[in-house]
Structure formats: C-alpha cells, structure tokens
C-alpha cells in the first residue's frame, strides 16, 4: 500500500468523521475560503507523499498528538479569543475600561489585579503602601468585586483572572457576584491562573509554602469539576518564565514540568485524571523570533499530549489537548521609540496565531513606560483584528507545517524539552527542583547571556543599541491616583461597619478549623466567608496562620 493513498485515506477519514461532525454543529466562518486574490484555500495543507513519521509526529488537527492544533477546524470555525489584560486603580475605573473593551469588539475579559490583592493583603495593610491599584485593580472584598462587574452579565462573558496564591478567594468573590446577578455556577466561563509553581520560579507573588499551596489548587480542581464545570481551573504559565529570561525551549519545559506536578498532585488526592485534566489550560509568551515561536507552540502540544497519554494514562482526548492563551512578550518592548513596539507586537501576534493559540493578549506600545493608555490598548487590539481579518493566515490550519525548517525546529525544541523534563524528574519533581534552585539557575543563565549579547551589540535591538534617535517620551502615560490607598481603606472601613461581624468571625473560624484538616476542601468555606464580606486579607491571614509563608531561598 503506498503512503500516498494512506494520506488521502486518512484525510478522508478525518474530514468525514471529525470535521463534518463538528461543522454540522458549529459551521465554519465561511462556506468557502479563498486568498485575498480569490485563489481557493484548502482547510489543511498536506504532503502529497509521506512516511509513517507524518502520522506519528503531526497527524490531523483535533487529533492526537495535536501538533497541528487542538480543534479540527481551528480559526476557520472561530477566531481565537481576543482578550486584553486590563485593570488598574479602583474597581469603578476598571469596570469602565472593561465596558470600553467589550464595546470595542473584545470577546473576553482578563482581569489584572494589583500586587496587594495578588499577595493577599488588604489595601490598608502596611505592606500595601505604594502598591495599591498600581499594576491592576485593587480588590479587598466582595463589595469591590460587585462594582468591578457591575453591568457585565457573568453568564455572557468569559473572564480570565490573573490570580495565583489567593486564587480560591477571588474565584469565591466571582461566584458570589454571579449569585447576586442570579447566574448559577454552571453558567460561568473563565480561567483563574492558579499556577503557584511559576510564582516561586519567576513571578514572585507567592504567599504559602508549596505543600498547602498545592492543596488549595487541588481543592479548586475538585470543587470546580463538580460545581463550576466550565471553569478553567488553572492556567499553567510559561509566560513569566520567559519574561524572566528563559529560552523558548526552557519556557515549554518548565511549564510542562509544572503541569506534571499539578496532575500528579491531583491524582495523589484521588481525583480522576480524565475528570480534571480537560480543564487544565496553559499560557505562553510570544517573542519576535517568528519561526522558533511557531515551532515552540507546536512542540508544546505534541509533548503534552504524550505526557498525558503515556505518563498519566489519560483516556479522554480532551485530557491530552494543550489549550493555551498567549501574551506577546512584555520584555521585548522597549522604552526607546515606543511606536516600534507596535511592529514587534504584530510579529508576535502572527507567531501566536500561526502557532495555534486559543486566546491572545497583545501588549500596548507604551507598556515599557507604565500602564497603557486607552489609545494604545486600541492599537493593540486592532493588531489582532488585522491579523484575523486581513492577513489570511487564519483561513487555513497550521500553515507552516511541512516547512523543513519549522519541522526541524519543532523536533529540536521537543528533544530539548524532554531533556529538561527528565532532568527535573530525576531531581524528584518540580517542587524539589525549585527548592534546589535548578530551574531558577537555568533561567538566570539564559537571561544573563541575552543581556550580555545586547550590551556587546551581538544582538541588535532596534532603537536600543542600534538606530537610536533622540526623542522625548510621550506625555500621555497613565498615572494612577496616588490617594488610592486611602480611598480603598475607607471602603474597607465601610464594609466592616456594614457587614455582620459575628457571622464573619464564625465563617473565618470555620475556615481555620478546615485548614487544620488536610482532608477538608477549603473552597466552600472560603466561599462562605466571601459571601459575608470577609476581606481578602482576613481570609488569607487565617490561612497564613495555619500554613505559614513561603520564603524565597535561592539567590543567583
């Protein structure tokens, strides 16, 4: 039997069994796709002739090993979700920005919280001085969350929340707001980042040590699989690992190694791999090296599929799919000649789309200077819309497949990633590798090398070490109200005066008792406290007392 006929046979099988079934339910955007000059455009480019290797390594979109994409029709069915990460100042200000973005054609919300919220401090805490409302919105209690989503029906939007150590608390606030809107939990769509391991490695917003942190995470997996079935319970993030200076392969390797740790933790507490794995999602970075980035995304899908199938014996194909969000690379933006960043973001957008992302945030040109202005955010969103509607790359699936160099790079990244994963497994898993500083060291060495290359001009960054111009920075950089901490503190005082403090104390005591018993799922207890307007800080302090706090231990 010739291979040629096998490709043809397989294609026929895929189209009739997989694609057509889907199209019957969810038709593609157009009945026919053509290029800009009306040339017909195939759904999927395929080799005319190939060996078995093709089926093992690439296969078909929506099928194992998912190298070519997780859905059978990809962007011909529906574009990726355009999701701009936003939030600053008070809940009122952020609420306004969200409504603006939804009106501008954005299809999902992505909430940025300020650092005190991310680290579980109320705005009036000593530690919060200077930081309230700075890198995101300040949320202290359910009262703030009600304002944040005022006029936004939670059954109609999908909401992604960049929250990790106190993810359970913010999810509880979100559920409580939905309840007040009359939206039941099973109607909620969205994601919490909830990825603590990369906080220890690269991002720094940890609170508790690894063990209780992993407990909170598996509590959420378990709770949501029963109560909030459409919620993505974790977004395992390589984005920040890359921002910290890793290579593309390290980004994938350490992210997937984190993923392995979470799956293992969940299985250890008795969860069924095929029940929770489908709700795992990932989050990657997109940098300027277009072809390498595309290869990276493809390799990541293939490796994760293998991990889930072979290492964890998942049966359900959904458990093997690496679905991911992408953000363009913040660290690639320059403060010099900030308009150049629009071009960088456009290239990175293309990388994410050619790599098959499920959702995308595009950075604004002025983010190396501070918070983005409304106009900059609009350009960033338009960049995605231009790639979606004008570039044509969304009209055929995985268009770079079969390029000798892209396939070569995909293989190479895969093999490098396996080396790292095996090394981490030999150390005893990701928690131990982090404690040992192995992961941090790899990243720092790459970051140092990169920066040295810029210093020596071996690596050219336009406008920074070549093609410099004298320039003044734009004036319209957003500034956050410096009185925000006072404003938020007043709000906390008001909440505390109005709520039933006895009830709050009871709910917090129940949480404390629950925290002492490792067999208790803390999610319902946190939700009970949230409903009574216990503050984020109060809830986290109960857990701090029981769990202790993580201390950074690795230097350089």
């Amino acid at each position: 039997m010739s291979n040629k006929s096998k490709v043809a046979q397989e294609k026929e099988r895929w189209e009739s069994n997989v694609v057509n079934k889907l199209i019957n339910k969810f038709p593609e955007r157009n009945a026919n796709f053509t290029t800009g000059s009306w040339m017909p455009l195939e759904r999927l480019g395929l080799p005319k002739d190939c060996g078995e290797e093709y089926f093992e390594k690439l296969g078909f979109p929506g099928e194992y090993p998912f190298t070519r994409g997780v859905q059978p029709t990809m962007y011909r069915g529906r574009f990726w979700t355009m999701r701009q990460y936003a939030g600053f100042g008070t809940a009122e200000e952020s609420n306004e920005r969200y409504k603006y973005l939804l009106n501008a054609g954005q299809t999902g919300l992505s909430i940025a919280f300020d650092l005190p919220t991310q680290i579980g401090y109320d705005s009036d805490a000593e530690e919060s001085i200077g930081e309230v409302g700075k890198v995101g919105v300040a949320i202290d209690s359910l009262a703030d969350m009600e304002i944040l989503f005022d006029g936004i029906p939670l059954d109609k939007v999908s909401t992604s929340m960049t929250i990790n150590a106190p993810a359970a608390v913010l999810l509880a606030f979100y559920i409580a707001v939905a309840e007040k809107q009359g939206v039941t939990k099973d109607k909620l769509n969205g994601t919490i980042q909830n990825d603590i391991l990369k906080e220890y490695i690269a991002r720094g917003t940890y609170i508790f040590p690894p063990k209780p942190s992993l407990r909170l995470i598996t509590n959420i997996f378990d709770y949501c699989s029963r109560e909030v079935p459409n919620w993505n319970t974790i977004s395992i993030s390589g984005y920040h690992i890359r921002e910290a200076g890793s290579t593309a392969a390290q980004e994938v390797a350490f992210t997937l190694a984190d993923g392995i740790e979470y799956v293992r933790a969940a299985i250890e507490v008795g969860l069924d791999v095929d029940v929770f794995s489908g709700r795992l999602s990932f989050f990657f970075n997109a940098h300027n090296d277009l072809l390498e980035e595309v290869a990276k995304f493809r390799a990541a899908r293939r490796i994760w599929a293998k991990i889930m199938k072979e290492k964890f014996q998942a049966q359900n194909p959904k458990s093997m799919m690496l679905r991911f969000h992408t953000q363009t690379g913040g660290s690639t933006l320059t403060a010099q000649q900030p308009d150049n960043n629009i071009v960088r973001v456009a290239i990175q957008t293309l990388a994410a789309v050619l790599g098959g992302t499920q959702s995308l945030h595009t950075n604004s040109r002025d983010e190396a200077l501070g918070l983005p202005t409304e106009q900059s955010v609009q350009i960033a969103l338009r960049t995605q819309q231009i790639v979606a509607h004008e570039s044509g790359v969304a009209n055929t699936i995985d268009p770079l497949a079969g390029s000798y160099i892209v396939e070569e790079m995909t293989d190479r990244i895969e093999s490098e990633v396996w080396d790292y994963i095996n090394k981490i497994e030999s150390i005893g898993g990701m928690v131990k590798a982090i404690e040992k500083g192995y992961v941090q060291k790899q990243i720092q060495d790459s970051a140092y090398r990169y920066q040295k290359e810029i210093e020596s001009s071996e690596r050219i960054i336009v406008g920074v070490n070549k093609f410099q111009t004298k320039e003044d920075q734009p004036e319209d950089i957003l500034e956050v109200n410096p009185r925000l901490r006072e404003i938020q503190s007043q709000k906390i005082a008001d909440v505390k005066a109005k709520r039933n403090n006895e009830k709050v104390a009871n709910k917090l005591a129940a949480l404390e008792a629950g925290a002492k018993n490792p067999d208790v799922n803390l999610m319902p207890l946190i939700l009970d406290a949230a409903r009574e307007y216990a503050t984020l800080g109060e809830i986290c302090n109960v857990l701090r007392k029981e769990f202790g706090e993580y201390k950074e231990s690795i230097v350089l």
Partner: protein
C-alpha cells in the same frame, strides 16, 4: 589594604520581577564589586537596616510596579533619620522620564531605565564613590 565598593541591590515593595535586579547584581559582580542581594518584598526599613549593617556605599533599587515615587524617597528619608545619608541611592526599572526629576529632587542620585548599558552604571559608581 584592599578596599572594595560594596553595593546593596534591593527590591522594595511587592513587585516580583527580579530579572533586572539579578542581572545588575551579577553584572556588577563581574565588574569587581561586592554586591549584597536581599531578594523580594523588602520594606524601606529592612533595606536601610541592611545597608547600614553591610556598610555599603550604594543602594540600588529596582522596581517595576510603579510604586517608585512612594517608595524610593521613603528609603532616602530613612537613611537621613539613621544619619546614613552618605550612602548613595540609585534606582531602575519601569520609570517614566517624567518621574525622574521628582526622584532626583528626593535624593535618588541616578535613575537607570531599561536599556541602560552596565557601563553607565559603573561610570556613575566610579564617579561618586
């Protein structure tokens, strides 16, 4: 006698982005300086206490969260309170140009924004040490 310039690289506030701080620490080491690195989430009090115990000549502050206008001057003031104003303070991170004059007025002696080559930092250290 072997005198060495000692420099504290510190991250005030809650910001967890330490790529820049770690780079500068390592690069200054490679330039022959002794660098003390204290990690994330340092308060103005702990930074000043550390600088004094370590008897550093310089404190380099790195901050990307936007809290520099609150936190940097606080550290300068606390040094004054402790009669340690001879310690030079410089800063870096995501700091818009328009904030630089404010920081300079408040006792921060130099501000290095992203893209500054390490040689500029060395030049600064050598010129005021």
């Amino acid at each position: 006698m072997s005198e060495k310039v000692r420099i504290l690289i510190a991250k005030p506030g809650l910001d967890g982005h330490d790529r820049g701080a770690k780079y500068i620490a390592r690069a200054l080491k490679d330039e022959g300086y002794e660098v003390i690195y204290t990690g994330l989430r340092q308060t103005p009090d702990s930074i000043v206490a550390t600088a004094i115990q370590e008897d550093v000549q310089f404190i380099g502050l790195s901050l990307l969260s936007g809290a520099h206008k609150e936190l940097f001057p606080k550290i300068v003031d606390k040094l004054k309170e402790q009669e340690a104003s001879d310690i030079h303070v410089f800063g870096g991170g995501v700091i818009p140009d328009r904030d630089i004059p404010f920081l300079l007025e408040h006792g921060v002696e130099a501000v290095f924004t992203p893209g500054t080559p390490i040689s500029d930092v060395v030049k600064f250290i050598e010129s005021v040490k």
